[in-house]
Symmetry: C2
Subunit: 316 residues, 2 copies
């Protein structure tokens, strides 16, 4: 099984339905006017644990055999996947250990603790994360559930696009944030299988533009010190997700942090929803014009809502 | 026609469906745990113009004959009804004039202007509002659409409860904010006609507790200087809504301003939705325990989301 198909995504949907929220699709006349498009917001900020990551985590944990599950699960994550995996593990009654960078948001740390996850802190680099996670797996015998470079995770996260197209079948474009690329890859696979003519775009912070640069050069290359208020999108695009993006993604729009903060604020003021900066980057790319979509029907995945009220992007 | 029946509410629903949003019902495992109940939040903060008032306004404006509509509509309102009526009028292509207290939130004033309503400011008292509105009607020949003491408004606003019970048929209790009583009266009429055993409660700010005091004494009596961060609930309970409340409402829980602010903040942090203080009072009454509902299935109407980010209740 080297590839995630629509069939696997539908199986994942069967597996997790009833455990996750079927999140609503919201619209706003005023946001339509401002963008010159018809926008359909898939609100994964309302998902269990506050982000779409609950879909992949639930699918991964529910896919484990009894034997595999016996020693629990482990991962590394800046936050939302950590909380989602802790939630999914506690739902199945098995332990979860998560490696988090010591710079993670206090509210994301609190969220992991709330779901009973054990936290191991590390330096905020890709290497430190991977090494610490390998150490945890060695010590505990837990199954490593990588935050995005994992077929069970990708299949689970493909289910949001299935629901979106189920509700709004005639979309021209779907835009979602890109970090490690799990959400974007799964969205592309699911959406193009259901509706081949739909175009798929990512929105990426300028300070962590490894996906757009890698796609442009054809070679997967990390950004040395990724930095953005979109703290969930600093991960390096994965070797499983990158080939999918090369094949199925139509483009990536990069956006500066101010535009991300402004987008999150506008969603709060006009759409009345709380979206964390990482979750607002797809909309920021549309609002900024870095994904061209005037006159089109645009699905936008708001991927998470775990905003730290102590660090709101407009309160600087 | 002296009474609003379920039949009239269903006619209103037919009339406005397609013009208004069918708002989602959200749930949260964490808020359920905190309250010891199963909570179902009807998100009228996502409604057109940001509050449930769009339902009544759309029904009222669409009910007018061509002749009645010719000179436009007028009203007095601290904000949400003003914006809703301006929106409904502009949708039909007729003018709207609204009398607003000079203390109205800047964002609510801006909202009326955005929908093309003409504003006449007045002193923030019941008498000044009614007098200014009567003057406007005399000068323009507009039809007065009272914010809550109007059968067309009451019928339109009954449609939110119809949708809520359509989605969650087995509720034990429904709780909603009470100001002039339009929302509470319509909710009670619609809900008890559909499900006679459902109990209906209002949540009211302590600083504007005219509804609970009037119900207790059996006589409609205003509070002298109503004051609360829930600025949409300062209106005096109407002579059309009061008898309905006496007959059909099971109780009113009053809540202090701090509890209202805390409720709005918790909805923002946990449910990820933006609710203005007035819109959060139903939930505040549940969270405070002033409406007893442990172990029950509770529908809560979040009536509006027009939060002024410059005046957020936790930023004092």
């Amino acid at each position: 099984m080297s590839e995630v198909t629509l069939e696997l995504i539908r199986q994942a949907h069967e597996r997790i339905r009833g455990r996750i929220h079927r999140t609503p699709v919201l619209t706003s006349g005023r946001l339509d006017e401002l963008s010159g498009s018809a926008l359909f917001f898939k609100c994964e900020n309302f998902q269990k644990t506050g982000s779409f990551k609950a879909r992949g985590a639930a699918n991964a944990v529910r896919s484990l055999s009894e034997g595999e599950a016996a020693h629990g699960v482990a991962t590394h994550s800046s936050g939302n996947h950590a909380a989602a995996l802790s939630w999914a593990a506690s739902e199945r009654g098995i332990p979860a250990t998560v490696v988090m960078p010591r710079t993670a948001s206090p509210n994301k740390i609190a969220s992991v603790e709330r779901y009973g996850g054990r936290i191991v802190f590390c330096e905020p680099t890709h290497r430190a994360r991977e090494e610490a996670a390998a150490r945890v797996v060695g010590e505990t015998g837990a199954v490593l559930i990588h935050p995005y470079n994992d077929l069970r995770i990708i299949a689970g996260q493909g289910t949001a696009a299935v629901e979106l197209l189920d509700e709004v079948p005639d979309l021209d474009i779907i835009v979602c944030p890109v970090g490690g690329g799990g959400l974007l890859a799964r969205t592309a696979i699911a959406a193009k299988a259901i509706r081949p003519q739909v175009r798929i775009f990512g929105g990426e912070p300028e300070g962590a533009a490894d996906a757009s640069q890698s796609l442009a050069s054809g070679v997967r290359r990390p950004v040395e010190r990724p930095s953005s208020i979109a703290d969930g999108l600093l991960a390096f695009v994965g070797d499983l997700t990158f080939p999918v993006m090369q094949r199925l993604v139509d483009g990536i729009g990069t956006v500066p942090d101010e535009a991300i903060g402004a987008a999150a604020r506008r969603l709060l003021e006009v759409l009345k929803v709380v979206v964390e900066p990482s979750g607002a980057v797809g909309y920021a790319a549309v609002a900024e014009g870095s994904v061209a979509c005037r006159g089109m029907r645009v699905g936008i995945i708001l991927s998470g809502g775990n905003l730290d009220l102590g660090r709101v992007p407009w309160a600087k």
